[in-house]
């Protein structure tokens, strides 16, 4: 544990990483986060909190691993050198001259449950270094020379002691507050850092963070976006970086648009109850001096109660990360130089030619035209270059003495400078118009794209269509691979991709899962698995995560431009909403059909209850009337009541039999015999039963002569015929019913026909469904809805078929056709 020298040890007992599991077996093993998570220890000791992970790890930094361990409920003890604290990075680099790249956000340390300072004198530490107790000898020597000098170590030691003291101080304050001990608390401080895309702003941010820590106050970073400045992608990338830094240091960040920077800052400051404002000190320089000074002055004048801090700019050159921007600009200027030179070069002969042909009062108009052309074609910068070029060329070629830069007449000199001013002015104006037009065109194109997209989405009715619209839109926006996964966390499925054959590997899948679980971006350019090519963003709605969208960013070395970001956000939001809508629509359909089922079941229960209770009501009513009214009943009344009891008992019995038959058929427990049946016997028995029930309604029977036996179950066939006759009488009106039987090939065809109004064609099959009831002509309630389904069940059990035909004859009536196989028993045997 030599490396624990001079380091603040932070112990976060909320949760921590498991180092022990990973070292096993490997000499220089990287910390295996997943193994640690799966072992679920109570406590993990992790050294070097500021360590940078190799590129194939899930997180680029070890402190992110630690966060994940904490989130998983594991306690962590870890160690950190003071110079790795983010807010101290610039102080450290100023003291030691070494830029520290491995930093840990202050928030990580602030949230630790406990911090223990490991202190040692500089001399002792250097001695330990020499003894090889900290680094290997070779490294140690370099380290001593560069970093571990006595002076540096003393300064770092002071930083560490003070930081720890600050923290202890906070704890004392908290304690006193909790105990409600009186003391000079003072209102809590709120600081505001004014951020612009310049080099000082980073320092402003760091200083504000330090101040806020010392004052134990909150702080925020604010940028005032001046109208017209949005277009510069370099600036906004820089601002994004700065804001990310501020957030790491614990700030709230805010971008506000406003023409008057000072007024906007003060407005935000007053709204947010800011007590101190931190701004960059005005740069003493050419143009910018003016504007910056006026900002500082305006703030000083109007700040009132709010304190102001001015942070001076560093003298050191801008950080290397600014470099690519310069190169880019130089390339850009190359084109503009060339264009300006061409325009001016063309203007010279044209001016000459025209001057020969006509008497031009002022050749400078030609140059002005060239400047305007540059402005319109390439913008402000080209216009300014062309103005200067024209100024020189005009002087050189057209002003006496010709072919020299000297000017003979003083008024010519004046004219020349007026020309220069006019050229720059008009050129700039024209250039700005052009740039604005470009921006408008870009915006219009973006708006159009988004409009098209939302139209496609709103037309999409299924999840698939939404997914397809989203991935093709992402592909169109970034020109690279795009995928979309849907589902709750844990079980994401790849729903669509562009190109369609894209598959995800294990790492990409786990990044997608991570994005869904943590509701944070993962993959390329994020803090989680940045080595992947795809960037995964969760699709969130108010109801939760509906999926994850993955795409390849257009360039890995720069963040998305604000326009791309805006576009992306709209696409993701709309996709999430559309997916959610599709899911909700599906659920609504499901719920509707569930409600429909419930309704059917309710109606069924009500009708069953009615069918059972009506006969019971009659029976019990009649029985109790017989008992209670005993002597008051006439003999006729008594007979009527007894008859009611009789009839209703029969009705109840039929209903119960039907129900039992039905359940037997459904349970497959019905055994139909397959024996030779004389159809005539069954028809006769059924007709007789029906005649008892409906004494006034005739049953006409006609059987073909020499009818063979059918194969089936005589008792069941009689039951079927009775049910059919009962139906025919119930629905067929007063004219009665007819039964007919004949042989047709290997089958016996039986028909029961009524002369009622018939069945609607759509209902011909439905009437065989269980509990389906047709309406009765008199509007009275229909039967139980069981009769026909029982008939079908019985007939099918005997190996026959039954169908309904309607109309039967002369546009009226219903005919039920039963087909049963002829019994194969040879006649000789039967006799």
């Amino acid at each position: 544990m030599a490396a624990r020298r001079r380091r603040r040890c932070s112990r976060a007992s909320r949760r921590c990483p498991g180092a022990g599991s990973t070292i096993r077996g490997r000499a220089l093993a990287e910390f295996d986060l997943d193994a640690a998570l799966s072992r679920k220890p109570k406590l993990i000791v992790v050294d070097e909190l500021a360590h940078s992970n190799p590129p194939d790890c899930r997180h680029p930094k070890r402190w992110q691993d630690v966060e994940e361990l904490l989130d998983a409920g594991i306690d962590v003890w870890t160690a950190l050198n003071i110079q790795h604290l983010e807010s101290l990075a610039d102080v450290v680099s100023r003291i030691t001259g070494v830029t520290v790249r491995e930093t840990v956000p202050d928030l990580v340390v602030q949230e630790a449950d406990d911090v223990v300072l490991v202190d040692i004198t500089p001399d002792e530490l250097i001695q330990r270094l020499h003894d090889g107790k900290v680094y290997l000898p070779a490294t140690a020597k370099r380290a001593t020379q560069n970093f571990f000098t006595s002076g540096n170590l003393t300064a770092l030691r002071e930083l560490a002691l003070r930081r720890t003291a600050d923290r202890v101080d906070d704890q004392v304050t908290d304690y006193l507050r909790q105990k409600a001990i009186e003391g000079p608390w003072g209102a809590s401080e709120k600081l505001l850092a004014c951020v612009d895309a310049d080099a000082v702003s980073e320092k402003v941010i760091r200083r504000t963070a330090q101040l806020a820590t010392r004052l134990n106050g909150d702080w925020m970073a604010l940028h005032i976006e001046r109208p017209g400045a949005e277009g510069d992608s370099g600036r906004s990338a820089r601002l994004t970086e700065l804001f990310a830094l501020a957030e790491r240091l614990g700030a709230e960040t805010l971008r506000v648009a406003g023409a008057d920077t000072a007024a906007a800052i003060l407005r935000v400051a007053r709204r947010e109850n800011v007590s101190q404002i931190v701004v960059a000190e005005p740069v003493r320089g050419f143009w910018r001096g003016l504007s910056s000074r006026s900002l500082a002055d305006a703030l000083t004048r109007d700040a009132g109660e709010i304190e102001l801090h001015m942070i001076p700019a560093d003298d050191e050159p801008p950080r290397p990360r600014g470099a690519p921007r310069v190169t880019l600009r130089r390339e850009g200027l190359g084109v503009e130089f060339a264009a300006a030179a061409a325009a001016v070069g063309l203007a010279v002969p044209v001016g000459h030619g025209l001057a020969l042909l006509v008497a031009l009062p002022n050749v400078s108009m030609i140059f002005l035209a060239a400047v305007l052309a540059c402005a319109v074609l390439l913008g402000v910068r080209a216009a300014v270059i062309a103005s200067i070029g024209s100024f020189l060329a005009y002087n050189f070629f057209f002003i006496e003495p010709i072919y020299s830069f000297t000017v003979a007449q003083p008024h010519e000199l004046l004219a020349l400078f007026v020309f220069l001013a006019a050229a720059i002015l008009t050129g700039s104006l024209a250039g700005r118009v052009r740039e604005q037009r470009d921006r408008v065109i870009r915006h219009a194109a973006a708006t159009q794209t988004l409009y098209d997209f939302s139209r496609r989405l709103s037309a999409a009715t299924s999840t698939d269509e939404v997914v397809w619209a989203a991935v093709s839109q992402l592909h169109k926006t970034f020109g690279r691979r795009a995928v979309l996964l849907t589902g709750a966390d844990g079980e994401l499925t790849l729903q669509g991709a562009w190109p369609p054959d894209v598959e995800l590997d294990a790492a990409e899948r786990s990044a997608a899962r991570w994005a869904a679980q943590k509701r944070e971006p993962a993959g390329a350019m994020t803090g989680t698995m940045p080595c992947l090519a795809l960037l995964f963003r969760p699709l969130a709605t108010a109801r939760g995560i509906v999926g994850v969208c993955g795409f390849e960013p257009p360039a890995l070395d720069r963040p998305l431009t604000p326009e791309e970001e805006r576009m992306l956000e709209v696409v993701l939001d709309q996709t999430a909403l559309a997916l959610d809508r599709a899911v909700l629509a599906r659920e609504a359909v499901k719920a509707a059909s569930a409600i429909e089922n419930d309704k059917v079941r309710d109606a069924l229960l009500a009708s069953l209850s009615h069918d059972l209770r009506t006969p019971l009501a009659t029976i019990s009513g009649a029985a109790s009337a017989l008992r209670e009214l005993d002597t008051r009943l006439t003999p006729e009344a008594r007979a009527d009541l007894l008859q009611s009891i009789d009839e209703e008992s029969d009705r109840l019995s039929r209903f119960v039999t039907n129900l039992l038959d039905m359940s037997r058929i459904e349970a497959g427990g019905l055994k139909a015999r397959r024996e030779a049946v004389d159809v005539a016997d069954a028809v006769e028995a059924a007709a007789e039963r029906c005649g008892k029930l409906y004494p006034d309604r005739p049953v006409r029977v006609s059987l073909a002569a020499g009818l063979p036996f059918a194969r089936g179950d005589g008792r069941l066939l009689e039951q079927v015929l009775f049910n059919l006759l009962d139906n025919a009488q119930k629905y067929g009106g007063d004219s009665g019913a007819s039964v007919h039987a004949r042989a047709e090939g290997d089958e016996i065809v039986l028909s029961v026909t009524d002369e009622g109004p018939g069945v609607k064609p759509a209902d011909l099959d439905r009437i065989f469904e269980k509990f389906y009831r047709g309406g009765r002509p008199d509007g009275r309630k229909a039967g139980t809805g069981l009769g026909l389904s029982i008939c079908r069940g019985l007939i099918e059990a005997m190996g026959g078929t039954i169908v309904a035909q309607s109309p039967a004859a002369r546009r009226r009536g219903t005919r039920m056709l039963i087909r049963l196989p002829v019994a194969t028993t040879p006649k000789g045997l039967a006799e």
Binding site: T618, G621, S624, A625, R632, L641
Partner: protein
């Protein structure tokens, strides 16, 4: 013959019609029959029966519609007779102006007792009742005095209101909603828990045996019924 009370039976089941016709005639009622909602409304308007027995499931429209329509022109007592056992239907019918209900299957004695109670309403308006007696309990509404076997009972104002609300409809079921509206006001018709608590307080003060109440009976899921001497229920349990 005209002295006989006239009952209209509205039911589409021929067997029930036949049964009621026979039994009610024997019990001294003049019985007329209707099988559909339309017939029923016509008969009520034309012959002004003394009481209507109404089935909720009719072929053309529901019995509930008949009830609502007839209440526009008639205050004739209505006894609901229905096979439906769902409380919702009963409550809806009672709140729509039915006077009581009998569930199928029913006993003839019960039906006749309910018919008698319903008829009592026409004899004297509920509001004019000033004194109710039940099982030794006397409620004197003019003096605001409640006594049990001659000894006064102390009731809170709400308990008194509740008891009087039930007593004014003695023999008939009063729904939760009707009680809540009468005692607490129309804003509280959903607060049935108030009612349960109050009933729980009232019973020990007025009942001889609060665990098997004989004066304020619970009609499960529907409401409460104040039982008076001479009611069918008390006859069937124990009556001297």
């Amino acid at each position: 013959m005209s002295a006989d009370p006239h009952v209209l039976v509205v039911d589409d089941e021929p067997q029930i019609q036949k049964l009621l016709k026979v039994a009610l005639s024997a019990a001294g009622w003049r019985v007329s029959l209707a099988a559909t909602a339309a017939d029923a409304l016509r008969a009520i308007a034309a012959s002004a029966p003394d009481v209507v027995i109404l089935d909720l499931g009719l072929p053309d429209r529901s019995g509930l519609d008949v009830l609502k329509d007839m209440r526009a022109f008639s205050t004739t007592p209505v006894l609901i007779l229905s096979a439906r056992d769902r409380e919702g239907d009963k409550i809806e019918a009672l709140d729509a102006g039915a006077d009581d209900y009998v569930e199928k299957p029913f006993g003839m004695g019960e039906l006749l007792a309910r018919l008698r109670v319903a008829m009592r309403k026409t004899a004297g308006k509920a509001a004019t009742i000033t004194r109710v007696e039940a099982d030794g309990l006397v409620i004197d509404m003019e003096k605001r005095l409640v006594t049990r076997d001659g000894a006064p009972i102390r009731l809170t104002p709400k308990e008194y209101d509740l008891l009087v609300t039930l007593a004014r409809h003695a023999g008939r079921v009063v729904t939760h909603r009707q009680i809540l509206a009468a005692v607490w006001g129309p804003a509280h018709v959903q607060d049935t828990q108030y009612l349960r608590v109050l009933i729980g307080q009232l019973r020990p003060k007025i009942e001889r045996n609060p665990s098997t109440p004989s004066i304020v009976r619970t009609e499960a899921g529907v409401g409460y019924r104040f039982m008076v001497d001479g009611d069918y229920q008390s006859t069937s349990t124990s009556r001297q």
